[in-house]
């Protein structure tokens, strides 16, 4: 008996995104459609200005398409009001940024427990889970350090722990290795893959880094707002 294919975690359907810059309209995405299966380790590639970050913003529900639809975990994100969309992101999504974007006044463990506190998890439970997640990314000794006291690689591992601590279905990572040396970059990718393998979390990563692309289950190539190859 043939197995029933699982529905895609992310569906982008004929998404257009336009920005108005003065008198000029920039078409960042031009009718792009794609499906991302659950548990995938997906990489978006393309030159600067190809629309990678715009597509990640739509998938990460931090921006809305000018036209078209984006469904995440079966939810049409376009119909959600701002507060509901915030709650949706808190429950379903994690983010890893190129510049880490850790909160500098918080320690590593406090940064990691922040998403749990947004979700209303009790302080003690949030602390327990944050410490466990930091241990998983190999930072058990640095829990009390602030971002300024950590290396770039350590900061990015804290950011990964923060993205994963609430057990999201999807993690969106925008050029996570761009600010790291190759050794740290490799370690970050290994960490993310290990997390995907262990928890089944879907990763969507934009990158220029061939080493990151080499680790992907699925690669999408973008050019001028179009998907041109996979």
């Amino acid at each position: 008996m043939p197995s029933i294919p699982s529905p895609p975690l992310v569906q982008v359907i004929d998404a257009h995104k336009e920005y108005v810059l003065g008198h000029r309209t920039v078409h960042a995405l031009r009718g792009l459609s794609l499906d991302i299966p659950p548990g995938g380790f997906v990489v978006m590639q393309g030159p600067s200005g190809s629309g990678k970050t715009t597509l990640l913003n739509l998938i990460g529900c931090i921006d809305r398409p000018t036209s078209g639809r984006v469904l995440v975990s079966g939810q049409d994100t376009g119909v959600l009001a701002d507060a509901a969309l915030s709650a949706f992101r808190a429950r379903k999504l994690g983010f890893v940024f190129q510049n880490f974007n850790l909160i500098p006044v918080l320690t590593a463990v406090e940064n990691v427990e922040y998403p749990l506190r947004i979700l209303g998890v009790a302080a003690a439970e949030a602390r327990r889970r944050a410490l466990a997640m930091l241990e998983e990314v190999g930072l058990a000794e640095e829990t009390g350090q602030r971002p300024a006291e950590l290396s770039g690689g350590q900061c990015q591992r804290v950011a990964i722990a923060r993205a994963l601590v609430a057990r999201p279905e999807l993690v969106v990572a925008d050029e996570p290795t761009a600010n790291l040396d190759s050794e740290n970059g490799s370690m970050i990718i290994r960490t993310m893959r290990a997390m995907r393998d262990r928890a089944g979390t879907t990763f969507v990563i934009s990158t220029h880094d061939p080493e990151v692309s080499a680790q992907a289950d699925q690669r999408w190539q973008l050019r001028d707002g179009h998907l041109c190859a996979s």
Partner: protein
């Protein structure tokens, strides 16, 4: 990590900027406390001065206000003793009364033969012990003008009148100058002798009595001190009503608490209606309108100053918060991406305004109290409007304590308002745009 701990840490990210902002709030709070404390002092001083001049309340024969100014004795109260008994025994008024006494207001000419000078005078015929209680009324412990070394020579050191001295009078310092009498206490054997002359209300020739000056003194109002004669009630009555029993033009009431004045006035109006007393009443504020105007003007100054402080403070806080928000644009985008709502962003930044307000307001209260203590401990003298003696500058921050609370809350609310608008702006940033910052 809780939200308040995060707010506290965010506030101290830029120590110098935060310190300057907290100091701005603190100085504003301290300034409001000091000015508020001064206005409070002015209210209390105005009350004490008004009561000292005229008691809390005076009851006159009906029509006195309209017609009595030119010839007060012609409007003497015919039923003083009956009225006095009625007030003292009344269950509403009696317990609230400190003193009920009679006064006979007279006016006429005074001459000093030794210097061949004369002047018009406005006299107050009073009972010796009673007038001392009125002019010494000071339940708030104010530093009295008579206790300031620079003024001491202007005030009588002993009582202005004495029962055993039926012809002894006290005259205003300004009148003494006109009559060529040196200020201060007058030596027993060589006391200046004056002739007081007035037209009795019954008509006929002017009547005249002799008196000798015990002291010169001052009521701290130039107009009054240039014409004032305080004389024994019996002597005043003899001047206006020779050979007749004691007359008074007003019944003066001194209350235990000024706050009881409205209740007492209402009760007297009821008694007047019930017993057909034929009286009219004037309270200390109506008799001393300049005091009311002076403190009213200070109240307006205070409101004006508060508005200026509030506007400056709002802009200071706004500026500080805006700088912080611009610096933390990407961070704000990141926490929004993680699921913090717009309201959550507003709350986060407003919480920082609350922290600045509490720190600044708290420091301001301490600074204000220290500054007030320094001012009160030093002898800074000045002459308030309508006064002709120096007063000690005093700051009554604790009377009432609500001045401290109001100054603190005023600055705190302004700090929160100053934080709200930048916070709202931060919450409206597009997440993707903020992350690109």
């Amino acid at each position: 990590m809780n939200t308040w701990s995060l707010a506290l840490r965010n506030v101290w990210r830029n120590t110098r900027r935060t310190a300057v902002t907290v100091m701005a709030v603190a100085l504003s709070c301290a300034g409001l406390m000091l000015f508020g404390g001064y206005v409070s002092w002015a209210h209390i001083a105005g009350e004490v001065h008004a009561v000292m001049l005229s008691g809390h309340l005076q009851l006159f024969k009906e029509g006195f206000e309209e017609k009595g100014a030119g010839n007060p004795a012609a409007h003497a109260l015919p039923n003083y003793e009956e009225l006095r008994q009625l007030l003292v025994s009344d269950p509403v008024i009696g317990p609230r009364i400190e003193l009920v006494t009679g006064q006979l207001l007279v006016q006429g000419m005074v001459s000093h033969a030794a210097t061949q000078t004369s002047s018009t005078f406005a006299g107050i015929g009073a009972l010796a012990g009673d007038i001392e209680r009125v002019i010494r009324w000071n339940p708030y412990g104010l530093t009295e003008a008579r206790d300031i070394p620079a003024n001491r020579h202007l005030f009588a050191t002993g009582p202005e009148l004495a029962d055993e001295d039926p012809e002894g009078i006290t005259i205003g310092e300004g009148l003494a100058r006109v009559l060529g009498i040196p200020p201060g206490d007058q030596a027993g054997a060589n006391r200046p002798s004056l002739e007081l002359m007035s037209l009795p209300p019954a008509g006929g020739l002017p009547n005249m009595v002799s008196a000798s000056v015990r002291h010169t003194s001052i009521r701290a109002m130039e107009d009054l001190d240039n014409r004032l004669v305080v004389l024994p009630l019996a002597l005043a009555s003899e001047l206006m009503f020779p050979g007749e029993p004691l007359h008074v033009t007003s019944v003066q009431l001194l209350l235990k608490r000024t706050a009881d004045l409205p209740a007492v006035q209402q009760r007297i109006a009821e008694l007047d209606a019930r017993h057909h007393l034929g009286i009219e009443q004037r309270n200390c504020w109506e008799m001393n309108p300049n005091n009311v105007r002076s403190v009213g003007m200070l109240d307006m100054f205070f409101i004006f100053a508060f508005c200026i402080v509030a506007v400056v403070l709002v802009f200071t806080i706004y500026n500080t918060m805006m700088m912080g928000i611009v610096e933390r644009t990407r961070e704000t985008g990141a926490i929004r991406a993680m699921g913090v709502t717009r309201a959550g962003v507003i709350a986060m930044f407003v919480r920082e305004g609350v922290v600045i307000g509490i720190l600044g307001g708290g420091l301001g209260v301490v600074l204000g109290l220290v500054a007030a203590w320094c001012v009160n401990s030093s002898m800074i003298l000045y002459t308030p409007p309508y006064y002709n003696v120096q007063a000690k500058l005093e700051i009554f921050c604790m009377r009432p304590p609500s001045i401290i609370l109001a100054s603190f809350l005023g600055c705190f609310i302004v700090a929160v308002v100053g934080a709200f608008f930048p916070a709202r702006r931060a919450s409206r940033m597009e997440i993707a745009e903020a992350l690109r910052h």
